[in-house]
Point group: C2
Chain length 403, copies 2
């Protein structure tokens, strides 16, 4: 049995965070109906790069879903949406708070229609509070959560995280919450509303372990080399321009590191004999480390010596490093997501896929079909004739053109 076998999901989402939740539900067996607005569709359809006019990113985030075009502002389109939600198990939406309510598709209305429904909203600032109506994107979640502030050093100022970490963590939290709600429904028969805020998810990660405020001290930026907690624990530049991470997080590992760099004398040096003292004297230790890096010359030599010595370390991987790393391959972390036929030459797009590592459930990867490819089948199941469906699509297209 597939994990979500028999579950029906209706998705009113766009961009990255919301679609990520639906993507995993589809991979593990749910029927996911992705409602898209006429003409434009999901915003991610315009994300570059396009291949034969189709966005690779859109396909990566929406494989296995059924694209259905509806104009929710039109009474006919709105009615169809309500009918689809009536017997759905899960609704996902990532519109600006208030929009779904104004469309008559908000949680209260849907709950009345279908009390077993799990209704998951994904937004920047959540459904309540003074900024709830504010638009938000990943970068704003990074900034407003405090997760960006402490990256870098005094010279750089805050450094943004290149990956869309707010979207990704919002998607992951939404997926976790939907699963918890499914388990709860299995036990009680009750659906519920799940309110995911990208800012809140990142803030819960960033604020959780800052204890200095409690002691009325200010957290300072540490840069790459420094750590307020551990030493040696940081990111260091090798003479050949590559970067090595060293994480010797207790006495045994730190002393082993001293042995590897040929400085056993430091083990009995009172400045380095405990972690607390090493943290205190980390600026004295850094040049000693660089002396050894210089002697070793290349990251290959440095990494080899550290690994052989049992010191936790890693180079800083680029995408190219990931692509060729034997562990990624042998552990089976890569998946080739099949791309739609229309892309012709691009048969598949390789990603590091679903990270959940279930022993009993395997994800399935089904390519996306075209924009609105499921209009006839899904709307037809509600009793509409092909002619009626075509007429509605034409009406909605023209309504969009007028806006």
């Amino acid at each position: 049995m597939k994990l979500y076998e028999g579950l029906k999901v209706v998705e009113f989402t766009t961009n990255i965070a919301g679609p990520t939740v639906g993507q995993w539900l589809a991979e593990y067996g749910a029927e996911v109906i992705h409602i898209e607005r006429p003409v434009i569709g999901d915003d991610s359809r315009a994300y570059p790069p396009l291949v034969n006019g189709i966005s690779i990113k859109y396909c990566t985030l929406n494989h296995g879903k059924k694209s259905v075009i509806l104009d929710l502002k039109d009474p006919d389109g709105n009615k169809i949406a309500r009918e689809l939600c009536k017997d759905a198990d899960i609704v996902l939406e990532s519109t600006r708070p208030g929009v779904m309510d104004r469309l008559g598709l908000g949680y209260e209305a849907m709950h009345e229609l279908n009390p077993r429904l799990i209704y998951c909203s994904v937004s920047a600032w959540g459904q309540t509070g003074p900024y709830a109506h504010r638009p938000g994107y990943d970068l704003i979640a990074q900034g407003a959560s405090s997760i960006m502030y402490y990256n870098g050093d005094e010279e750089t100022g805050p450094v943004k995280i290149f990956t869309e970490i707010g979207d990704q963590c919002g998607g992951l939290a939404g997926f976790a919450a939907v699963n918890a709600a499914l388990y709860y429904r299995e036990r009680t028969g009750l659906g519920q509303h799940v309110d995911i805020s990208l800012v809140r998810v990142l803030a819960s990660m960033s604020v959780k372990l800052d204890d200095l405020r409690i002691l009325h001290k200010k957290t300072e930026k540490q840069g790459n080399q420094g750590s307020p907690l551990l030493c040696p624990y940081g990111v260091f530049k090798c003479p050949d321009g590559n970067w090595i991470i060293i994480a010797a997080s207790n006495n045994a590992l730190a002393f082993q590191f001293f042995r590897v760099i040929g400085r056993e004398d430091l083990i009995s040096d009172p400045r380095f004999e405990t972690n607390v003292k090493r943290v205190e004297h980390q600026k004295i230790l850094a040049p000693i480390m660089y002396e050894w890096f210089d002697k070793m010359g290349t990251i290959d030599n440095i990494e080899k010596a550290l690994l052989e010595g049992g010191v936790p370390c890693s180079r800083v991987y680029s995408y190219e490093d990931v692509d060729k790393d034997p562990h990624y391959h042998e552990a089976g972390w890569f998946t080739d997501i099949p791309m739609p036929e229309e892309m012709t030459d691009l048969k598949a797009r390789r990603i590091v896929s679903s990270p959940f590592g279930f022993s009993e459930m395997s994800p399935e990867y089904i390519p996306t079909k075209g924009f609105g490819a499921w209009n006839h089948e899904i709307i037809g199941e509600l009793g509409y004739t092909p002619e009626q469906i075509d007429e509605l699509q034409e009406k909605w297209k023209q309504a969009m053109a007028k806006n």
Copy 2:
């Protein structure tokens, strides 16, 4: 009914990622028995700062759990662990791959004992593959996943993320997977193994949306101001030294931004009339933006003008900014986690708590008790007398002293 009412969790975890999974299970009603090694306990008990000898971080990650001291290498301790797992619903462990197997507490052995058991392993590199045995910490997951590489600009090199993003995302993925496994068990009666790797979780986020490799192009670092996808979309320094994020992600918002900065003329400038063209000419746009920032002088003025103009923006919050932000307060994002009595003066520690936003289920926050405070109750339930339990504890303590 509480979400996890009646569920028994046995946790062999330490540090941050593994305990995070157990923390949420405890908050929503599971009985979580946290097995700790004699004398030292969970490594996070040594995380500074300590208050009356107790780590605030430990309490933040383990509230509501029952601490039980066991020496798993001792046959008596090992037997007790097996007995606890025999009727458990979930086992969480974050030891080095292979360790639990050698202790006779690995997935295969536990599954034979208890086929309904959900067994979640959290590690750096996962349970299989050539690096599985390597030790790993958050920083190594950041580096080996490629999530660190692209932060910053050419001058800075890779910039580490200050927050323990690998631990936090690993915990979140583990929690999602355990919930999915619970739902699956509810439907099929079967337990399973969940294999969470911190590197894999971050890599799945980082590698997912890099499509340039497919087109045989190399992804370049963009720094704070730049974006390969959108313009204006970045982090900018205000004249007063504060940082503002602007995320004008489509034509309407970009044109609105031009109006706000008094440069309506740019709307019809062919260099800025579409997003693709703005991205292409972002280096020309930057000085125009800074001209306006200079005129406005302070972040207060800049933010006010942008918000009033409907341009998505945010300042980069520090922890102090989070503490005083009205939205965080009014949306109810803060929770005061009660601290153990032994801390005397520190009654509670404020965090941004569980980010799941369930309408029907509320987390409960119960303070941790002392190290091994539940030894007698939990081991006693298995039929051991108080005297036997005290003897075992003494034996294990002495065994640790010999190591």
